[in-house]
């Protein structure tokens, strides 16, 4: 089931080095790129159907088309390498194993959108990764693939790595821009959208690492080749991260559209220790959970996930076995989002804290049925009433656990004292 498009060079020893990467085709299509018109590059990417791999799945070519023309201001490209959504661990493989694919992607995107300055925003925890990425950028500068004349063509591309410092919210695109500007990572109200007024108040495109790294293949082989993989509406391949209770957790490149359960069985070795499946989180911790029954019919693409009232998200699949205590899991999730709230909206800052306390109260055996109802009600009252969707990233999954596993919350409420003590 696995394919090697983005990960083609991942297993090649030393492919993070320019010399080896070039032997395997890196930077081979720059002459072709610069012979094309930027508008044609955008058209090809639109035709490929490439969708943003940061979680929202917005078509990349279409996003680029939102840039206003001839504003007289510079256009910035910000590459989102914050990779902080729990259960997401794909982009760092690109940074470490094939950074030149990312740099080539940056050159392609920059040319298409008329940008000369890229900032790669990388999460602060990626200490070793940031060094390796910088080493690759230095090599690309030295070889003339970055700088004033990219590969001898009359086009400048400068790339700067900007290191975050431990804030999940900086993955949100406007918080990311604030952070590059030296501020705390508080998302901006939209509109204006970054394409119009982004970094330093200039037109800005923000794309995920994997989205950008998908470009060299598309330019080299064309949109139709890319479309051989995946489905009509979800074309291409994706780096999936499978974690939790499976025998073979790991990062796997797969075409979109495969049946979820088959992937879990054949690729990830099935539920570990011969246990039964309790649920699957399909695309990072913020996506609503699927029951084993729902998991039977879902396929790994944007449309099927939406039909199952969840989201494709970041491709971070988490498997939960029968032993998982859903209430404790929900507590772990709320903890995360509450801790990462930037604090500027009351429903998020206070509401998530409130949800955390109620869940703890239920876990402590002191909850009532109306607490379970209140938790559910809070989800509806917090969502979409805030500046960014971090709060919804918490309430959407929590609502799904409450709706699909309500009996587990109720069990805590109705349990006699001895069984509660045991559950702790």
């Amino acid at each position: 089931m696995e394919v090697k498009i983005l990960s083609a060079k991942f297993d090649i020893e030393g492919a993070n080095k320019l010399e080896v990467a070039k032997q395997h085709g890196a930077y081979a299509n720059l002459d072709r790129l610069f012979s094309m018109e930027p508008a044609d590059v955008i058209e090809e990417v639109k035709k490929s159907g490439l969708r943003g791999r940061g979680g929202a799945g917005f078509p990349s070519g279409v996003k680029w088309g939102f840039l206003p023309k001839d504003t007289g201001k510079p256009v910035y490209l910000a590459v989102n390498s914050d990779e902080s959504e729990p259960a997401t661990f794909k982009d760092r493989y690109i940074l470490v194993r094939d950074p030149h694919m990312l740099i080539e992607g940056i050159i392609i995107c920059s040319y298409a959108i008329g940008s000369h300055d890229t900032y790669i925003y990388i999460r602060g925890e990626y200490t070793t990764q940031v060094k390796e990425l910088q080493a690759a950028i230095d090599e690309a500068y030295e070889a003339g693939y970055l700088g004033d004349k990219v590969a001898g063509h009359d086009f400048r591309v400068d790339v700067t790595v900007h290191r975050g410092a431990g804030a999940y919210v900086c993955g949100e695109e406007t918080a990311l821009l604030e952070s590059i500007e030296g501020k705390k990572g508080q998302p901006r109200s939209k509109p204006p959208f970054p394409a119009v007024a982004g970094l330093y108040d200039c037109p800005t495109i923000i794309n995920n690492v994997q989205s950008i790294a998908s470009l060299p293949y598309i330019i080299e082989n064309g949109a139709d080749a890319y479309r051989q993989y995946g489905t009509e509406k979800s074309p291409g391949t994706h780096l999936f991260g499978i974690s939790g209770h499976v025998e073979k957790p790991g990062m796997y490149e797969l075409p979109l559209g495969l049946p979820l359960l088959e992937v879990l069985e054949k690729v990830a070795g099935g539920v570990w220790k011969g246990r039964k499946l309790k649920g699957v989180i399909p695309g990072g911790s913020s996506t609503p959970v699927l029951t084993p029954e729902e998991a039977k019919t879902v396929t790994l693409d944007y449309e099927s996930m939406a039909q199952h009232k969840t989201m494709f998200g970041s491709g971070g699949i988490v498997v939960l076995d029968e032993t998982v205590d859903i209430v404790k899991l929900v507590k772990n999730l709320i903890n995360f989002y509450h801790h990462e709230s930037c604090g500027q909206c009351t429903p998020c800052r206070e509401g998530l804290g409130w949800m955390k306390k109620i869940t703890q109260k239920i876990l402590d055996g002191e909850g009532t049925m109306s607490d379970v109802d209140l938790l559910r009600e809070l989800c509806d009252n917090i969502e979409m009433k805030t500046v960014c969707v971090l709060s919804a990233a918490c309430t959407m999954p929590v609502r799904s656990y409450l709706d699909k596993f309500r009996h587990e919350f109720e069990a805590y409420v109705t349990a006699d004292e001895s069984s509660v003590a045991e559950a702790k």
Binding site: E125, G182, G241, V318, H339
Partner: protein, 168 residues
């Protein structure tokens, strides 16, 4: 959010060493505004000293030409900036979803029972400090521990013990 509002004064003036000074000058040219240097300058400070003092905040503000409050704002917002000295070895254990599912708690319990070390604290000899952190982006090899910036994957208590033994 947690309370990170306290700054500690060393009573000594702070400045970048030669290497960091050069790095600052290299980086400042990469941005159209000097304020963008706030995060990089905080990193340079932490690399040099291990933590960020009140004097360092004042120095960075001065060096960039901005208000100390702006530097303070960033230093207190971003959780990776240490606002007090850490242990000689700083241990971060991921507590989020996938690591939680695959037994991160056993490692935390081990440190509490064997070293008397709990999250947010240092051992008495100052050798280890411990922090529970959120998802470190290595969920496929959970549970994950980061020591002095180095990742250690597929951890369990036995492996963790041997790891501790290698830390001088």
């Amino acid at each position: 959010m947690s309370d990170r509002s306290q700054l500690i004064s060393t009573g000594e003036p702070f400045q970048f060493d030669k290497e960091r000074d050069a790095e600052f000058e290299r980086l400042v040219k990469r941005y159209p505004t000097r304020e963008s240097m706030i995060l990089p300058a905080l990193w340079l400070t932490q690399e040099q000293e291990g933590w960020i003092s009140q004097e360092a905040i004042a120095y960075i503000a001065d060096r960039i030409g901005t208000f100390a409050s702006k530097v303070y704002e960033a230093a207190t917002f971003y959780t990776m900036y240490n606002l007090h000295p850490m242990g000689k070895h700083h241990i971060c254990v991921c507590r989020t979803l996938s690591c939680w599912l695959r037994g991160k708690q056993e490692i935390i319990d081990y440190m509490r029972d064997e070293l008397g070390l709990t999250p947010g604290k240092k051992t008495e000899d100052g050798k280890f400090s411990l922090e529970e952190v959120e998802c470190l982006g290595h969920c496929g090899t959970a549970p994950v521990v980061q020591v002095d910036g180095e990742f250690h994957e597929n951890m369990d208590v036995e492996k963790f013990k041997s790891l501790l033994a290698t830390l001088k």
